[in-house]
Amino acid sequence: MDAVGILPLDVVGWLVQFWIVLGVAGMFLQRAPQQLNNIVFPLSALTSLLLAAVGLWALASPATVMVLPLGLPDLPFHLRLDSLSAFFLILLGGASFGVSLYSAGYFKTMAGGMLGLLCLEYHLFLVGMTLVLLADDAYMFMVAWETMALSSYFLVTTDHSIPDIRKAGFLYLLIAHVGAIAILLSFGVMQGGNGIDAYTFDAMRGAHLDPFWSSVAFLLALFGFGAKAGVLPMHVWLPEAHPAAPSPVSALMSGVMLKTAIYGLLRVTFDLLDTQLWWWGVLALGLGLLTAVFGVMFAAVQGDMKRLLAYSSIENIGLLLVGIGLTLIFHVYDKDALAALSLTATLYHSLNHAMFKSLLFIGTGSILHATGERNMGRLGGLIRRMPWAAMLMLVGVLAISGLPPLNGFVSEWMMLQAFLLSPGLPNSYINMLVPVAAAVIALAAALAAYVMVKFYGVIFLGQPREAALEHAHDAGTWERIGMGWLALLCVVLGLAPVFVLGQLDHVSQMLLGTQLGNAAGNWVFLAPVDTERASYSPLYFLLAVLGVMLLTSLLVRRLYHGRVRRSDPWDCGFPAQTARMQDTAEGFGQPIRRIFEPFFLIEREVPSPFDTHPRYHGRSDDRLWYILYEPVKQAAAKLSSAASLLQHGRIHLYLTYTFVTLIVLLVFV
C-alpha cells in the first residue's frame, strides 16, 4: 500500500469526511426517516468498521503526521496517527460499528425532524472523538474535545422537553467545561519553545519541564480528563447524563467517550511529559481504587437500569485508573516488564469495557422500547418475551462480571498478575500498598458480579412484575445484529487474548519502550511473563467445560432417562404466589446498602403496622454531592443574586453604567 503512497492517516481522513457527509445527509433525509434509518446508519457502521481496520493497519505502521490547511492563520491543525491513537481508533470503530447497526433499528420510531438532527449530532460526535485521537496540537485537540462535548450534550438532551433531562444535560456540560479548562491549563504548562508552534505536541515532547511543573501539568490533566471519565469526585454527571441520553448514545458515551479521557491521560502522562514521578502513580492508584469501590457500591443499590450501568462505568473507569497508576509506579522504578503488563491490562480492559458496556447499554434500549420502563422494579421475566435480547445480554453480563472464558476475565487476570509480580519495589510504603490494592480490586470485582446478577435477574428472570410486560416484543433485526456483533467481540476478545496482546505490544513499545511478549510462544496459552509463573488458556478452558457438560448430559441420558414434566413452582408448598413476592431491585441491593450504610445518604419512609395504605419509599443518595457540590451551587446562587442588584432592566441605568465605566477607564488609562 505504501508503494502507491496511501497512508493510514489519509484513509482515516476520508472516513471522517464521509461521516460528516452522512451526518449532513441525515438532515436532508429527515422527510424520509425510513431511508435515513436503513441507509445512513448502516453506511455509518461500515465506516466504523473500516476505521477499525485502518486502526489495525496503523498500529503496526510507523507514526504518520499531517498538517491540515485548516485552522487559524499561521496556526494550522496538526494530525498524527501513531500506535496509541490507532489502538483507540480500533476501540472506537469496533464499538461504534455495533452501536450504529443497532441505531438503524432503534431510531425507527423517532419523528423525522428530530431524527435528522440527531443523525447530524451523532456523526459529529463520532467525528469529534476520532479527531481527539488524531490531534497533534493543543488547539486542534481542544477544538475536537469541544466538538465531542457539545455534540454529546445535544445528544443527551434529545428529549429536551423533560426538565430532568435538561438539568442532567446542563450538569454534564458544566463539568465537561470545568474539565476542559483544566486540560487547557495543562497544555499551557507543557508548552514548549516560543512562537506559534509552542502548542504542537511535538514541541511539548521536546520541552523539558522540571519536576514541579511536570507535576502541575499531570495534576491538571488528571483533573481535566478525570472529570470527563467520571473519576471521583467529578463523577456526579455520569449517573445523570447516561440515563438521560437515548440508549445508543449512552452506549457510545460510556463505551467510547470515557475512553478518550483515558487516552488523553495516557497521552499526556507517557508521551508528552518526559519525566514521571512515583507519587503520581500512587495518587492515580488511590483515586482509582476509591472510584472503583464507590462505583460498584452505588451500582448495587440502584433501581434504574441505566443508572446502574452508569455507576458500573464509574467502577470500570476506576479500574482503568488503577492500571494507569500501577503502570506509572512500575515505569518510574524501571520494572519494564511489569509496566508493560499493567499498561497492556489497562488497554485491554478499555477495549473490553467498550464492548460489554456498549452491549449492555443498547440492550437496555431494546428493553425500554419493548416495555417503556427503565425502573427495574417494574420489569421481570423478559427472558421469555425477549429471548434474543436476553441471550445476547447474558454474554455481556457474564463478561462484565469478569467470568472466564469471556473477555472481562482476561484483563482482570492480567491486572491481578501485575499485582502479584510486584514485590521488590524499592519503596516499602508502596510495597505495603500493593497487596491492599489487590484486595480492593478483588472485592470490587466480586461486587461487580453481585451487581450484574441483580441487573440480569431482576430484569430478565422471574415473573413479570407488571401485566403490561406480557406484550413486550423482542429486539428487531438491526438491533439483534448490533448486539450480536458486540457479544461476538466479547467472546472473541476472551478466547484469543494472545492475538490482542501481540497488537497491544506496539502501544507499549511506543509509550514505555518495552514489549510484553508472550512467553508461551503459541497462540493458545496466555503467559505474559514466564510460563512457570502463570498461564491461562481460555480456549482449553471453554472446551473442557463444554466437553464435561456434554459428557455428563450424554451419560445421564444413557444411564437413566431424559423425562421432564412441567408443573407449578414448588416454593416450599406455599400456595399463593404472586410476582410481588420476588425481590425488587431495592430488595436485592438491600444487604449492600446495609453493610456500607455510612457511605450512603439514606432517605427512607417505612410504613407503620397500622397504616391503612402502607407506602414504602427508599432512596440512597450520594453524600459527595451534598458535601462538595451543594456549597458551590449555593455560593454561585448567592453571587448571581448579588450581581442581580445591578440589573434593573431599565435602559437609562445601563447607559449610566456604560458612561461610568468609560469615565473610569479614561481616568486610569
Binding site: 497487596p435 502463570a534 436485592f588
Partner: protein, 319 residues
C-alpha cells in the same frame, strides 16, 4: 522419554478427572457420618450420598411451567465447573497438564461461573425463596471470593507462581519452614471453606427452615436429575475446597514430577488427610451454632481481613 512422560501425565490427568468425580460423594458421606457419630446417632453410612444420587437420577424431572432454558442448562454448567475445579487441583501428584490452562485466578473464576449461574437460575422461576437465596448467596460470596483470592495469592507469592502445581511443589519442598503469612491464610481459608460450602455457621446444608436457607433456597425448584447434578456438584465443591486446603497447607508427601513411584504413598497419605479434614469439618460444625444472616458479612469480613493481613505479612517479612 519426554513423550512418554507427557502421555503418562495426560493419562494421569484423565484418571484424576474420573477419580474425583466418583470419590467426591464419599467425602460428603464421611462428613455426614462423622457428624452423626458426634451427635450420638448411628448415621446412614458413608455410601448414603450415592444412594440418594441414584434415586434422584431415576425420578422424572419436574420443572415449573415458566422455567427458561437457563434454568435447565444450569445444573450441567455447575456440575461441569465443579468437576473441572476438582480435577485441576494437584492432590496425588503435581503433574497435571490441564492446570497450565487454568491457574489459581482461573480456579476462583470457575467457582464464580458456577455461582453466578446458580444464582441466576434461582431467580428464573420467580419464587420468593429463589431470589432470597440468590441474594444471600451473592452476599456471602462477594466477601468470600476476594478472601479466597487473597489466600491463594499468599501462596502464589511464596512460590512465585500462580500455577497450582508450582505452588504445591514449592510448598511441599519446604517441609519444616513455618510461614507466618500462611498461618493467617489458613485461618481465613477455613472460614471461606465453611461459607462457600454452605456449612454451619453461615448456612446449614441439612435445613429447609425458610428463614435460614441460603444454598437450599436457591435449589428449591430443582428435582430429579437436575437436583442430583447440583448435589453432586456440591460434593465436588467440598472436595475441591478440601483439596485446595491440603494442597496449600499440608502438601507433604505428594508425588513429584516424574516420580511415579511416589504415587502409592501419596495416595495413602491423601486418604488420611481427607479423612482427617472431613472429621475436622464435622467437629467444627457440631461445636458451632448457625449465625444470623447479617452476622455472616462480619464473619467473612474477618476472613477477608485475615487473608489480606497474611499477604501483607508476606510483603513485609518476605515469608
Amino acid at each position: 522419554m519426554e513423550n512418554y512422560d507427557l502421555i503418562f501425565a495426560i493419562l494421569f490427568q484423565l484418571a484424576q478427572l474420573v477419580v474425583v468425580v466418583l470419590a467426591a460423594p464419599l467425602l460428603t458421606g464421611w462428613v455426614n457420618q462423622c457428624q452423626a457419630w458426634l451427635q450420638n446417632r448411628s448415621g446412614a453410612g458413608v455410601l448414603q450420598p450415592y444412594r440418594v444420587l441414584h434415586k434422584l437420577f431415576h425420578k422424572d424431572a419436574v420443572i415449573a411451567h415458566n422455567a427458561s432454558p437457563l434454568f435447565r442448562v444450569t445444573p450441567y454448567i455447575v456440575f461441569g465447573c465443579m468437576w473441572l475445579a476438582a480435577a485441576i487441583i494437584p492432590i496425588i501428584a503435581v503433574d497435571l497438564p490441564f492446570s497450565q490452562a487454568a491457574d489459581v485466578i482461573a480456579l476462583v473464576g470457575v467457582f464464580a461461573v458456577a455461582r453466578v449461574f446458580i444464582s441466576l437460575a434461582a431467580m428464573d422461576i420467580g419464587t420468593a425463596f429463589g431470589s432470597l437465596g440468590a441474594r444471600r448467596e451473592m452476599l456471602v460470596s462477594f466477601l468470600a471470593e476476594p478472601a479466597l483470592l487473597m489466600v491463594l495469592f499468599t501462596a502464589s507469592m511464596i512460590s512465585h507462581s500462580t500455577q497450582l502445581p508450582r505452588i504445591v511443589e514449592t510448598l511441599a519442598h519446604h517441609q519444616f519452614v513455618l510461614y507466618p503469612s500462611l498461618a493467617f491464610a489458613a485461618l481465613a481459608f477455613i472460614i471461606v471453606l465453611l461459607a462457600e460450602n454452605a456449612r454451619i455457621p453461615v448456612d446449614n446444608p441439612s435445613t429447609h427452615l425458610e428463614l435460614t436457607m441460603i444454598h437450599e433456597a436457591m435449589i428449591l425448584e430443582y428435582s430429579a436429575r437436575h437436583l442430583a447434578l447440583i448435589e453432586w456438584a456440591s460434593s465436588l465443591k467440598l472436595f475441591a475446597y478440601i483439596s485446595i486446603g491440603i494442597a496449600l497447607f499440608v502438601p507433604h508427601g505428594i508425588a513429584e514430577v516424574g516420580h511415579w513411584a511416589g504415587l502409592p504413598l501419596g495416595i495413602v497419605l491423601l486418604l488420611l488427610k481427607l479423612m482427617l479434614a472431613g472429621a475436622g469439618l464435622a467437629v467444627l460444625e457440631t461445636v458451632m451454632a448457625k449465625m444470623r444472616i447479617f452476622r455472616a458479612p462480619e464473619f467473612l469480613g474477618t476472613a477477608f481481613l485475615l487473608a489480606v493481613l497474611g499477604l501483607l505479612i508476606h510483603f513485609l517479612l518476605g515469608a
